[in-house]
Structure formats: structure tokens, C-alpha cells
């Protein structure tokens, strides 16, 4: 076995590592350093300012609002992408026709938005969510006119509208992952539970969900990363507006860079990274443990 280990040479990792280090890791470390400088476009001298940028982020109301929006957006998309994705997967896991043709048709259809560009869908949704757009017209025509909103203009709902578009786009993606997890459960478990007289709901609670722990975890991680790092949907739907009402961390990074405040922009990026790492790494570790147990 020792000999086997020696057979594999690290030279094979070199091209991958080189590319990764030059275009990703080195910029990442430069970024962490420059997050602690007052690096600004056009300024001759860049000085080390320690944690000043971070202090600024957590005392500037506009940036704090972006942090709050990022959290709100993330919580909403994580909950609904997973809830809807899971429910659809459960429904689609029982055969609706011989050879599951009908099931596959629905699965194919529900996944389509996930392969499309968020920019394309976003531009379409600016028309659907327009005050005189399709959504309000539909609500009125089915007697729910009181729900009509200025979806992208009302500062109180704008973040939820953006989250809604993201949930619409990605539910099918999460559904497909759940579906695979469900189909990976050995039928014996469910049969045994049925023989023991468990109802559909009991089987779901006592057998399916516990056995899906790793899948659920993975879906939550994916949607968390998607939520915290979400950019295109905000950029195309509102570009952070009206005013700064729907700014999230990623769009603030863009606007700080555009203003030439590079030090501050990279500090914001670092905050984003820390958020993702602090939230996702424990979940990842837990997921690996769950897999070992299975």
C-alpha cells in the first residue's frame, strides 16, 4: 500500500494548483491585506489602517442596512427554496404513471428556470413585477386585487420580491436534489414502516426525513451560499434601489469599487467571506459526520 501511495505524483496537481493560486488564492490574500488599507483609486500612497474599514462598515447605516438585507434575503430564500423543493420532491417521488414518464416531464419542466440566466429572467420579472405588470393584473383578475403591490418600488417589500424571484428560479434545482435523496432511500425501510402500520405522515417524519439528513444539510448549505452571495438578481431587478432599500453586500461591493474605494470594497468582500465561512463550515462538518453514520 505504501508503494501504491508513492505511485501517485503531486506533479499532477501542479497545473490545477498553479492556476488556482495565481488567479484565486493570491488575489484572495492580497484582498485580505488591502481590506485593512485605505486603498483608493487615484491615491498615490496607500496606508495601513488596521480594522478601520470594518469599523466603518458596522457604523455606516447604509452598509449596516446592506448586511441586514443580506440576512433577510438569505433567510427567506433558504426557507422557501427548501420547503417548496422538498414538498415537490415528495410529491414527485411517487409514480404518477407507468415508467414515471409523467414524473420526469414535471421534473424537467420545474428545473428549466435553474439553467437560465438570472439576468434574462430578471429582465422579464421587471415587467411582471411592474405596478401595471402581469402579476398585479393576475391578482386583480382572480379577486385578490388587495394583494397588488408596487413590488420593486415599495421599500418594505422590495427585498421579499427579489427573494421571491430567486425562489421561483431555484426551487426546481433543490427539488431535483431532494428527489435523488428520496430515491436513494432503500425501499425496505419504508415497506417495513408500512407493515408496522405507519401512516404516510409518520413514514415521512420517522423514516424519510431522518434518512435525508445529509441531503437536507446539503440543500441548506447550497441555498445559504446562494443567498449570502446573491448578486445578479438584485443587480438586474433593482440595482440596490429604490435609494439603498435593496442593497445587499455584493451590490455594495460593486458600488464601492465603482466609487474607487477599493480598500473598503475588499473589506466588505471579506465580511461576506467570513459570514459564509462561519455559517457554512459547521454545517459542512456536520454533513460529513452524517454521511459516515449512514
Amino acid at each position: 500500500m505504501r508503494e501504491g501511495n508513492r505511485l501517485y505524483s503531486y506533479i499532477w496537481v501542479a497545473p490545477c494548483l498553479l492556476l488556482y493560486v495565481i488567479f484565486f488564492a493570491i488575489p484572495l490574500f492580497i484582498g485580505f491585506y488591502s481590506a485593512m488599507t485605505n486603498w483608493t483609486m487615484g491615491r498615490e500612497v496607500t496606508a495601513f489602517v488596521g480594522l478601520e474599514n470594518f469599523r466603518h462598515i458596522f457604523s455606516d447605516p447604509e452598509l449596516l442596512n446592506a448586511v441586514r438585507n443580506t440576512f433577510l434575503y438569505t433567510v427567506v430564500v433558504v426557507i422557501f427554496k427548501n420547503l417548496f423543493g422538498f414538498v415537490l420532491a415528495i410529491i414527485l417521488s411517487t409514480p404518477l404513471s407507468r415508467k414515471r414518464r409523467v414524473n420526469n416531464l414535471f421534473r424537467t419542466l420545474f428545473y428549466i428556470p435553474a439553467v437560465m440566466s438570472t439576468i434574462v429572467l430578471g429582465v422579464v420579472f421587471t415587467r411582471i413585477l411592474h405596478p401595471l405588470g402581469l402579476l398585479n393584473a393576475c391578482l386583480k383578475s382572480i379577486g385578490l386585487g388587495f394583494l397588488a403591490q408596487n413590488w420593486l418600488i415599495n421599500t418594505r417589500v422590495v427585498m421579499l420580491s427579489i427573494a421571491g424571484v430567486s425562489v421561483w428560479q431555484w426551487t426546481g434545482y433543490h427539488m431535483v436534489i431532494y428527489l435523488a435523496g428520496i430515491q436513494g432511500i432503500a425501499p425496505d425501510y419504508l415497506e417495513a414502516a408500512t407493515i408496522d402500520g405507519a401512516s404516510t405522515l409518520q413514514r415521512l417524519r420517522k423514516v424519510t426525513i431522518p434518512l435525508l439528513a445529509a441531503t437536507i444539510n446539503m440543500n441548506v448549505i447550497l441555498s445559504l451560499i446562494g443567498g449570502l452571495r446573491g448578486f445578479s438578481e438584485v443587480y438586474v431587478l433593482t440595482n440596490g434601489g429604490p435609494g439603498h432599500a435593496s442593497q445587499v453586500l455584493t451590490t455594495e461591493v460593486l458600488s464601492k469599487f465603482a466609487e474607487g474605494r477599493w480598500g473598503l470594497g475588499t473589506a466588505l468582500n471579506a465580511v461576506l467571506f467570513l459570514l459564509v465561512a462561519v455559517i457554512c463550515i459547521p454545517l459542512l462538518r456536520q454533513m460529513r459526520r452524517q454521511e459516515v453514520e449512514e
Binding site: 488556482y20 488567479f23 488575489p27 414535471f106
Partner: protein, 277 residues
Amino acid sequence: MNEALLRRRAVRGVTVLFLLLVSVIVITPLLFMVLGSFKNPLEASSFSLSLPGHWLFRNYLDVVREGSLGRAFVNSCLIAAASSALTVFFSSIASFVVARKRSRLAQFLYYFFFLGSLAPMQIIPTIQILKVAHIYGSFASVILIYAALNLSFGCFLYTGFIKSVPRALDEAALMEGASLFGIFFMVIFPLLTPANVTVSILIFLSIWNDINLPIYFLPDSTKWTMPLSVYGFFGRYSSSWNLVFADLALTALPVVILYLAAQKYVVSGLLVGAVKQ
């Protein structure tokens, strides 16, 4: 017995009805776009789901000509294809060693590559590096950056895949006198075909749909990719929504076709990546 059958049928009926309702929610925005793309400017500006009075196929010709979508299409294909090829090649050979070696260094490399999935890319420092290398603004720079960013995902998927290929195969090939090169390219790589197709398609799709990199790294609009050209087009023609819709539909079409053609791989890859690893 009969009653049970009846009840099962009723449940199935309600289920299908519910799924049809969800389908309507999924399809409506897409239908809205497609119908809008065939309307005249006046009809398109009403933002309804009505059918066009005359189906104006000409709209598509107009956007291809005026929006220079042909060039954007070629740019997108070039960037997405070259980066996914690079990613497949580099990350598969790296993962082969990372998956097989039983050492701390291999373990470290696995996590080091995984970092790429968590950390956001640093835009301004990357631009500086590109300027030092004199490739800022070129296709090559974007291709290399996309590859670098996707290596993380590639290594993640490939390491999982390769671990499921028994080592005994390597050892058998070794006995037959194969070199490491031979083992990988004659024995392992063919077995990775599903992973190869999956990784290339998923990366191709994600690059095709991305606008983050072209915004920062391709200041020259003749090098823009399709989604970004949509954005430019949207700005210029915001009074002709029929043309905007046609432009959007044309940008979405290639990836939807690719997805429908290679669905098996897209879905199965997602699963291997998400569930097994």
C-alpha cells in the same frame, strides 16, 4: 378493495392537478417572454399574456443584426467551452492524485481547493495581476479566471467520483506494466465519462449565465457575452420591449436546448455532487 382503488385514483388526480398549477407558475413568465418577442412594440408594451396580432418573426432578425448577438454568441461559446475544457482536464488529473494519496498534504489540498467554493473572488487584486501579466481585458484572462474559479467545484466532484473507483483497478493496471499516465488515461478517465460530461455541462451553463466576470474583466463591448449584451441592449432599446424579449429569448435558447439534450447528465451530476460527496 374497490374503495381503496378509488381513493388512490382521487389522490393521484389531485396531485396531478396541483403539479399542473405549479407548472403554470413556472411557465407563465417564460411564455410572457416568448409571446412578447413576437409582438409589435405597442402590443409588447402592454405587458399582458395576449397573443400577438401578427407573429413578427422579423423581431429576431432585427436583434441579431442590431444587437450584434452573433458575435456575443461566438464570444460566449468560446469562453464557456475553453474554460470548461481547462477545468475538466486540470481538475480531473489533480483529483486523481488527491483522491488516491493517503497523506496530510492531499487532505490539505482537498480543503484548500474547497475554499474556492466559499470565498468570493477578489476583483481588484485579480485585475492587478492581469495587468502585470499584460492580459487584462483579453479572452484568455477571462477563460483562465473562470477555470480557476471552477476548479474548486471540479475537484470536489472528481474527488468524490474517483474515490468510488476501486484502487484495485490502478493496481491491476500497474501489474500489467502501465505507467501512472497510462493508468489514468486508459483506465480511469474512460470510467469518468459521466463525471466529465456533467462537469463540463454544469460549468458551461454557469459560465454562459454569468455576468459578474465580463462586467469587471471585459471592458471592450465587442468581447461581451450574451447575457451582458442583453443588458446593454436592454438599456438602449427599453422602448422596444418586443426586441428586448426577442434578445432575452435568444440568450436563453442555447442553454435550454443544451439542458434538454443532456438532461440525464445535468441531473445525475447534480446528485453525485450534492448527495454522495
